[in-house]
Symmetry: C2
Subunit: 161 residues, 2 copies
């Protein structure tokens, strides 16, 4: 077991999983805030120079783990590591958002596709030289790629109450 | 505390931190393998259609946590969240690698910048519609960006023996 600690909280307009955008690409213009715990705010220095952040967070509403899932954009079961579905062996989420402003331990962000009160684990600056790939193939997703921008989730990943 | 489990192991030519490439961009052509624990191999289905994978892993050699670090490419202290340095409050690593082949529970990968025996936490498919950002600013890194491809690490993030 590897243990991590919450470094802050992501606030968003999404109070439940149904109806959410499935990725930041479908959440264009959706604003949110990050509140970093005061003991970590020293680590935010120099962040305001970056336009985009990679957020790593905990899919805290996910209770089930699956190795095969039917992704939102598909009707077939796929191996979970070939999808971005939240019900993964480790429910770790990754989204790239726009950074608008940094004020003390609060960050205003845009293109937010997380649930409200999502526990944040890490922030990394997005750097095209590290993170942008070319000549990319995307397997089963290939025929769905142009649909990403207007796709929203249904409740298939809702955890059992 | 949020607990995650190791889903596999990343094997690479790098046995120690000094001399490593600092990012996959500096590790072009460096090959490695991922061995997924057999109980998770069902989740690899459909992965072979993707050319690039996002790997999320544990910086298992990091013992210290810092909020301000002097990154490899710089001489000034920076807030750790404005860097990709491993000594973060949660030592979570993220690299995008090329996927060459999938054979059973083994993946051959390229552009490997992790230490040998790195514990893997998650694999996500790289999807340009989700992960590629445009009009990007990169703060303090701006003037170092063209140096990324030939930069290797020194031992400043080596953990105390």
């Amino acid at each position: 077991m590897i243990k991590f600690q919450q470094i802050g909280t992501i606030h968003s307009p999404f109070k439940e999983t149904a109806g959410m955008p499935i990725q930041p690409a479908g959440a264009e213009g959706v604003c949110g805030t990050i509140e970093i715990l005061p003991e970590f705010s020293e680590g935010l220095k120099d962040l305001e120079g970056f336009s985009h952040l990679i957020l790593i967070y905990h899919f805290h509403q996910v209770r089930e783990r699956k190795l095969s899932v039917t992704p939102f954009m598909d009707t077939k079961k796929r191996g979970v590591f070939a999808t971005r579905a939240p019900m993964r062996p480790n429910p770790i989420g990754l989204s790239i958002v726009k950074l608008l402003t940094v004020k003390g331990n609060k960050l205003d962000i845009e293109n937010v596709d997380m649930l409200d009160n999502t526990p944040l684990l890490d922030i990394k600056p997005y750097v095209p030289e590290f993170d942008h790939q070319q000549e990319v193939r995307t397997g089963w997703l290939e025929k769905f790629r142009n649909k990403v921008h207007n796709h929203i989730s249904d409740d298939r990943f809702k955890h059992p109450e």
